[in-house]
Structure formats: C-alpha cells, structure tokens
Symmetry: C2
Subunit: 456 residues, 2 copies
Amino acid sequence: MKQSFINDLQKIVGEQFTLSDKESLAVYGYDSTPELESLPGAVVLPGSTEEVSRVVALCHDAGVSVTPRGSGTNLSGGSLSAGGVVLQTSRLNRVVEIDEENLTATVETGVITSALHRDVEGRGLFYPPDPGSMNISTMGGNVAENSGGLRGLKYGVTSDYVMGLTTILPDGVLLKTGGKAVKNVAGYNLNDLLVSSEGTLGVFTEVMVRLIPKPPAKKTMLVHFPELEQAALTVSRIIAARIIPATLEFLDRVTIRCVEDYARVGLPLDVEAVLLIEVDGHPAVVEEDAAAIRAICEKHRCSFFQTAATAEEALKLATARRVALSALARVKPTTILEDATVPRSCIAPMVKLIQETARKYDLTIGTFGHAGDGNLHPTCLTDERDKDEIARAHQAFAEIFDAAIAMGGTITGEHGVGLAKKKYLPKLVGEAGVRVMRNIKESFDPKGILNPGKVF
Amino acid sequence: MKQSFINDLQKIVGEQFTLSDKESLAVYGYDSTPELESLPGAVVLPGSTEEVSRVVALCHDAGVSVTPRGSGTNLSGGSLSAGGVVLQTSRLNRVVEIDEENLTATVETGVITSALHRDVEGRGLFYPPDPGSMNISTMGGNVAENSGGLRGLKYGVTSDYVMGLTTILPDGVLLKTGGKAVKNVAGYNLNDLLVSSEGTLGVFTEVMVRLIPKPPAKKTMLVHFPELEQAALTVSRIIAARIIPATLEFLDRVTIRCVEDYARVGLPLDVEAVLLIEVDGHPAVVEEDAAAIRAICEKHRCSFFQTAATAEEALKLATARRVALSALARVKPTTILEDATVPRSCIAPMVKLIQETARKYDLTIGTFGHAGDGNLHPTCLTDERDKDEIARAHQAFAEIFDAAIAMGGTITGEHGVGLAKKKYLPKLVGEAGVRVMRNIKESFDPKGILNPGKVF
C-alpha cells in the first residue's frame, strides 16, 4: 500500500491507530477460520462514526477495499482482507443509551456482546442473543453475521432484536435506519437487509437493540441417552408437546469424550448423546415444563436426568456445552467447525448421516449444537498439514451440505458465507437467488469497495 | 388496453378469470384508501404460481405494469393500478401444509388471515398477527404490507413470522427464499426485504410462516380513565414494571362516543380514555400480571376496572376496540385513518398533540390504536366533497407526521407508504435512505413493471 495513502489514513484516525508494519498486518492476516490467511495493506482503528465515514470515503475515492472487523471471531473468513484496509471497530465501544421506558439499548458496534448482557441484566432487562464467542465478539460482528446462540430456540437471533442501525455506506455516506418505534413499515426493511450482510453493504457504527424483561426463573437439566435416535426423538417430542425451552443443546459421543477429557465435568463415556436443556420464565411455568420434559426424556430411555439445584450447579452443567468447541479444538491442530442446519424434525437423520460420512472418509468428527433449532456443528478434528485428510474433510462436508439442502435445511445457520462457503451458496439459493443478491450488492456498492470477494 | 394483449392474458388464466369490462374495472378502481381512485386496464385472477409467473413475464415483455392485490383492504392506495394489470390473488387459496413437528404453516397467498388462525388454533397452535382486517385480508397482503394487529406488543408483526416465500420476480422468474430451518444466514436476508415491499419487488404466491404454541390462558380487562395523561402513563408504567401484555389498546373520548353510539357496549361517555388490556400465557402468569396491572391502573386513578369472567365477556370487551373503525366510519362519508407511530414513551404527548391539532384545524379526529406499540390511529371524520375541510385535514396530518418524526417515530407503523404517504417518506428516511431504496427497486425491476409509482 502506498505510503501517501497510509498518510491520508493517519490524518483521519491518527498515527497510533493506523497500523501498517509487517507484524501488525500479520496479526490481522487471519480470523477464527481454519486454512485461510490473507494479508491486509493497512489496519485502521477509527474512534467515531465520523472517522469511519471519512475512512470509507477516502478508500472509495482511491478504489481501495475496506473490510470491517470486530474481534475476528468470524468462522467463514469474512473479516479477511487481501491487500485492502481492515477497519477494526474496537474503539467504537461506548454504550450510548439504555432506555428503560422503551426497552432499547443503543451501543457503538465495538461493544462486546457479554458486556451488554451484564449491563442490561443489572437493570432487570435481557438481551437474548448469546453466541458462543459472546465474551470476545462485538455487537457489530453479531449484526453483520446475524449471530445466534444457545437461547435461539425460544428467543431467536440477532435480527430479531435489531431496531435501528447507523451505517456508513460504501461511498462514505451515513444512513440511519429504524428507530425506537417498535412498528415501522415506511419503505423497504433496510435494517433486516443490512443485518447478516457480512460487511458487504455497509459498515455499522451504532446499533439499537430491543430488550425484553429478564425471565425471573430458570432451570437447567442435563440428560444422558444411551441411544442417539432416542435423544433426537426427545428433541422433537418436547417441541411437539408445545414446550419451547430457551436452550435445547446436543452433544454426541465424540464431543462428550473430548469435553470430559478436557474439563472433567463428570460426563459418562458410555452414552451416545447428552442433551442440555434450559427452561426459563415464570417459576410456575418453569416447574411444569421441567416436569413434562423429564417425563419425555424418561419415555425415551434416558439413562440419567440431572437438574441443577443451584445457579452454580446450572453453570457447571452448562459448562459441558460451553466448552465443547475448546475441548474439541485441543485434540488436533486444525478444527473445522461447520454449521449445517436442518428443519428440527431432521435432527436424527442428520446426526446419523454426519457419523456415517465421518466413517466413510475416515475422519474424526464431533457433533454438537443447537438441536432445538436444527442447527448442528459437525466439527472435524484434523491437521491442515495433512493434505490428504483435509481433502477428505472437504469432500465429507460437501456431502453433509448437500444432505442438509436436500432435507430443506441450509449451508449456514449462524456463521455466514464469507469466503469459506461461497461455492455452496448457488446450490442453496439457486441462480435467481444469486442474481438478486448480486444485484443488491451492486446497487449498494457499484465500485465493489466493501469487503469484496465475500458471500458471492 | 389492447384486445390482443387481453387475449394473451386469457390464454394464460382463462377467459372467466380475465376481467376487462367497464363494471369490473370500476370495482378494482379503488381500495380501502379514501380519496384515491384509479382504473386498471385489466384484472386477472390466476389459479397457480405458474400462471402468476406467466402473467408477469407477459406483462414484463410487453411493458405493461402489474399490481398485485389481495382483498383490497389496503389503506395507502398500494393496490391501485393506473391502466395496468391488477393481479388478484383470491384463487391462490390453498393451505399447502401445516407441519406440526417443525411448527410451520405453508399457504398460498390468497388465504384469508383469520382462516389460517382457525386452522392452526384447532391444533393447539397459534399464528399471532391479527390485523384489524383479518376476516377479509389475505396472507399475501399481510406479507406485502408487514401487517401488525392487536397482539403486536407481545408477539410482533408479520415479518416476525415469515420463514419462507415463493415470489415471482418482475421478469416472471420464480424465487424461493428461506425455508423450514429456523436459522439461516446464507446470503442476504431476502425474506425480510420482500416482506413490506408493498408489491414493488415481487408477487408472492406462497408463504411459510412460523407457528407457536397457543397460550393456554388469557385475561381481558377494560379500564376507564377520567384523565388522558393518566391512561398514557399507565401504558408506560405497565411496560416499566416488566409486564408485556399481548394487547394494550387505547381509545380516546371521540372514539368512545362513536363506539357507544354504534355498538352499545356500555362505555361511559364522561371519560377521557379507555384501555383494553389482554394478558395471555400460563394461568399463573396471567393471574399475577392481571393483578399487577390492576394495581397500576388504580394508582393512576382509573374510574372503573372490569375483568372478563368468561370468553364471551372477553369478546364483548374486545368489541369496543374491534369496532372502533367501523363506529367512526359511519359518522361521516369519508374516514381518513392514519397510523402515526412513536416510541411508546411518547404516547401521552402524541395523543395531546393530535387533539390540539384537531382543535386548531376545526376537525373531528378520533384516536385509537396500539398504545403499547406507540402505534396510534388518529382518524379524521370528514367528507371528501368538502374541499376546504379536506385541505385542513391534510394540513393537520402533515403536522402530526412531522411531530411523530421529531419524537423518533415513523409515518406509518403498519399501513405502508403506497401512494398516500410518498411525500412524507424522504422526511423520515433522508436522502440516503430514499437513494438506497430506489437503487434496490431498480436492481429488482429495471423496467419498472411492478406496482409502479408506489412507495417512492
């Protein structure tokens, strides 16, 4: 990147917030996606919406690409730049307003997700989306990827909470969408189009989210199943009984063994599946739902049913699920975490298919995830230096995605397309879908400045 | 319209479903919007998605506009065509599937909203959106306008339930978006962009909506307030107490008098406001919430608090609200129903401003609506032959919209922009907002075939 251009960036954000030395660029050369690396030309850390606007306008005029980046927890390569400017949002970290009367929180997009949780929960309010990376991830990243989490079954995902956005368009112009009116149909729904646009339509600098009252009670249950099929059936039967738990998570045998090996939480090594179930709400409802869930689990031959007696115990039970990825990741150098998603009625055939595919290609794949949402994380434990195994892993995932699509599911439930899943998108959305998406991108960004090469 | 083109339409949908006689065109020359009339060139009633695709492709090639129309309950002139083809969806009226395991309903877009309610409630399931016109309106119209309803406060609006759409694009190509996977971030969120696009981006032929378990209990309350301010404060205080009723509706003095005159439901004529409140959910929660709400109402000097003892009584109490529009509409020949919407904390100043504006311009304006959502319906009772009064009414509404925008609200909460509010849109979304929306329209419909002249 030309020094004169870097000087122009420095004039906007300051010298200390413009990085272009080799070491810094290397740090921003990867995100949490395996196998992908790509060096940016410069990294800027703007401190205000206005600085973001000026950086984007400068890049637009110079024909230099801009890739927004939060904490880099992206799992599809969406925050990587090839020679362009990485716009890092960590300095946009102010909580602008918590409006307790209208139940909204307005934050700059560099605010960490779990920091917002703590802030609003202290006021008896609740911001439900809780992605696995919530202690590191930024609200802006959550909006760009439409992050889910463990509470998605009952409470939905990020897009269900975004009420307003401040966005810098690809030419540097500021766009405000939405607001505190809970109903708004004035023109196209730009908020929901911008959410999950993976940094390709605009750079978010502020987000206003809807809050809800914090549920007064919660019950956490951990259930062991000797038979995989029965665990999957239990998921379906709970929903069929008109019970919507906040959390309904699944761990398979491979994951259970890794978790136990890593965290020693007392999981049995001889079961095929574990379900982590949380119900929340009014204490009476929580009691009834928990009793009904226990009956369903027992009918489906669970071997053990544990209910947390205290908040600490609940946290311990949830640990088994929360550490799943870390536990799997330490087994081998490379962890390929996917998020094939199916209608929830297809959980059992999908888990079976993943296990069969792993055997067929001689791979170690642990599967865990949001069973109630049909959102599974088949996770391949491998080593990217082993070219042959990596090739087999890609072949296996191609088959898993094909199967997910055939079941009426999708190639990504919450990680985004980014670079990693571009080749699968046309299969899912068809030629018409890709055409419409490309046209929208072109209509926002005719010069192709913003996070180029992603999604399509 | 040329006879040869009408013949081509007939070849696709059949002679009996192609209308071009003067009388038929006159019937489709207006919708539920006052003051607007516009004759189409022809009306077609296709019987399948394929016929819709062929009609749209034919029009696209011939450069003839297409305006989709459900039951014509539109309140912003969105279903009117000036010389083009009106595509009426009433024959697309099949329930395709109710999937009780995945909690989805898939229907053709001509299905009547309340028919879907009855169908799913018979199975213990629930489709919450309940616009005032639900006994006539179609699901396709609800999707195009992103309809709300009386249960929006707790349950949200149509867009919160749309999981999948089958859409015919402006060139006749079929686009399927979304599906049964409850989480899906593969590419841009086209579902939510298409919802509320007011027939300008595509013609919907099928919609898949999410269902939820039917709440087991419900309690309906009607509360009288001698002071307007106290009624508005009650709305705020209920939410601040972390209670989210399903319904929290408001009627002002003008509306109360008209309703009582029309339906004789026993409303007092000496109060300033009435609130209709419904809580639903688990019986224990319903009891507690109702008690807490009663305490708040009494603290704010309600003069009367009535709780329905039976389902019939609940229906009777809700009648006061459900008939509000009909009751107002019979007073004068022309009813201008608006939906200025503000953050809910601004309900009191907004109602006051509406009343003052009515006095200032010597108009009769009754206000009722979804107070919990901040979504009010100031309704001017007038006569379109009285040019002077109509001019004053428009002046008054312009001021009311300006005030709504100034309070952080919007020009339409649930009726859409259509023709009626085009002039207010730039004030709300700004130059950048209009530009982005126009570019999206252009990217979908470069020939400007689909419902031209609406929204922008």
